[in-house]
């Protein structure tokens, strides 16, 4: 009875062990580069089935035990953690990692695509580095970022990747125009175009000239703080206050200036503004 119980318990343990583990360990490389050829030595004789299993890829091969099992270049090309199982007259198992090959591709995100000039850290660039099999290259890699515009020296920065990603921030140039934002790694470059547009008007000044019963109002060319012409179509508002009354005219910039006519009331106060910028104020005539 005692012997039978021992045997049954032993059987149960072996059954459980068979479910959860395998008896022997395969001699495997610790890591293999994606797409590289490698081999697995095997023991014993007879036929067996080799399984290499991971979420990223799965392989199944009929093999001859006692021979070295060769995997050709490209057979295993997705980076990841793999379980290996060799099922023959007995079962062997192991695990290894496939790591990314050398960098050959970039995923480059540059934002925004359009921004005002002279903005500190206004442009961001993020580069994910991949190999030829679209594996994220997790080994630290140097990524060069360069922003070259219509004027001034290009801004350059070299950043090492961390977990496959490198990022930087750049200033927009002081002159309007298209800038080329480039990320480069190991001879592979990816380019984005960033449109740099004039900023808010910096100084707004108008002049007034009488014309019969009316006043001709005209701004000086409207520019941002870096001297770039503010785009046509930007609205300039003229306001005239007189005898408790008020008149307002919104005028779009045309060829860099805004002009309009308003009634000439003696003692009227005329002001000009665009966006959040106030211009000069003129008091017309005297009561």
């Amino acid at each position: 009875m005692k012997t039978r119980l021992t045997l049954l318990l032993g059987g149960l343990i072996i059954l459980a062990a068979g479910q959860l583990t395998v008896a022997q360990t395969l001699r495997l490389p610790k890591t293999v580069e994606a797409g590289a050829a490698f081999s697995i030595p095997s023991n014993g004789s007879g036929k067996a089935v080799l399984y290499i299993v991971g979420p990223a890829q799965v392989l199944r091969r009929d093999v001859q035990l006692g021979e070295t099992i060769s995997l050709a270049p490209g057979d295993l090309h997705n980076a990841g953690h793999y379980l290996v199982l060799l099922v023959g007259s007995f079962t062997e198992s192991g695990a290894f990692d496939v790591t990314a090959a050398r960098p050959t591709a970039l995923s480059f995100i540059a934002k925004p695509s359009r921004l005002p000039v002279d903005l500190h850290d206004g442009i961001s660039g993020v580069a994910y580095v991949f190999d030829t099999f679209q594996n994220l290259v997790l080994q630290p890699t140097q990524v060069s970022f360069q922003l070259s515009g219509v004027a001034g020296a290009p801004q350059s920065r070299t950043v090492s990747t961390r977990n496959g990603v490198a990022w930087t921030k750049m200033n927009s140039a002081s002159k309007e125009g298209a800038a080329q934002f480039t990320a480069q790694v190991a001879g592979v470059a990816d380019k984005r175009v960033i449109q740099q547009v004039p900023g808010d008007p910096c100084r707004l000044r108008m002049n007034v000239r009488p014309s019969g019963q009316r006043l001709e109002l005209e701004t000086e060319p409207v520019r941002d703080c870096s001297g770039n012409a503010v785009p046509d179509g930007t609205i300039v508002t003229f306001t005239e206050m007189y005898d408790g009354g008020e008149a307002t005219v919104d005028v779009p910039l045309k060829r860099g200036v805004a002009r309009t006519e308003m009634p000439a009331y003696k003692g009227a106060t005329i002001s000009v503004a665009t966006g959040v910028v106030m211009g000069n104020e003129i008091r017309w005539g005297k009561e």
Partner: protein
């Protein structure tokens, strides 16, 4: 004779219990490292919660998809490269008559990068899981695995989806 039948029943019960023990718990233990140093973009608590929720859901989808060899189950939680690679694995599994069952037992998640424009977030997960390999429905092995996964998630209309999903050596 009767005693033998009782032992057989006992053996079967043990097997069922063991299976239930290994595969029964649906919810993995999840630990999230403090996110104070995540950058360069500031990570709001709401975003963090959504990213972790969607990433764990992605593991659930992956498990079902690889178990049933159904690539359509990936649509909800994966996009881009990650989805393409997992779809290829499922196609290959189906061709070979293989199924793999992944059951994640625990996750130790660290959010490591939130891009300045908010279009990608990266996390590193030390995950422990069990894998069962079935060849033509015959169980070949069950293995316990501890691995370090790197995932990049990107926002879609209503959720974060996994775009890069890759294990790396610990």
């Amino acid at each position: 004779m009767q005693r033998r039948a009782i032992w057989k029943l006992f053996l079967m019960a043990c097997s069922v219990l063991a299976t239930l023990f290994v595969w029964g718990s649906d919810q993995p233990a999840v630990r999230v490292e403090p996110t104070d140093s995540v950058g360069p973009r500031t990570l709001e608590k709401q975003t963090e919660t959504a990213v972790i929720r969607d990433y764990l859901q992605a593991w659930h989808s992956l498990s079902g998809a690889l178990d049933q060899n159904r690539a359509d189950l990936l649509n909800r939680d994966f996009v881009g490269t990650a989805k393409e690679k997992l779809t290829d694995t499922i196609r290959e599994q189906a061709k070979l008559g293989i199924q793999t069952r992944y059951r994640d037992g625990s996750h130790d998640i660290q959010l490591v990068f939130y891009s300045p424009e908010g279009l990608s977030i990266q996390l590193v997960d030390t995950v422990e899981y069990d894998v069962q390999l079935l060849d033509h429905e015959k169980l070949q092995t069950t293995q316990h695995v501890r691995a370090r996964y790197v995932a990049v998630l990107t926002p879609t209309e209503v959720q974060w989806k996994v775009r890069v999903f890759q294990a790396e050596p610990e």
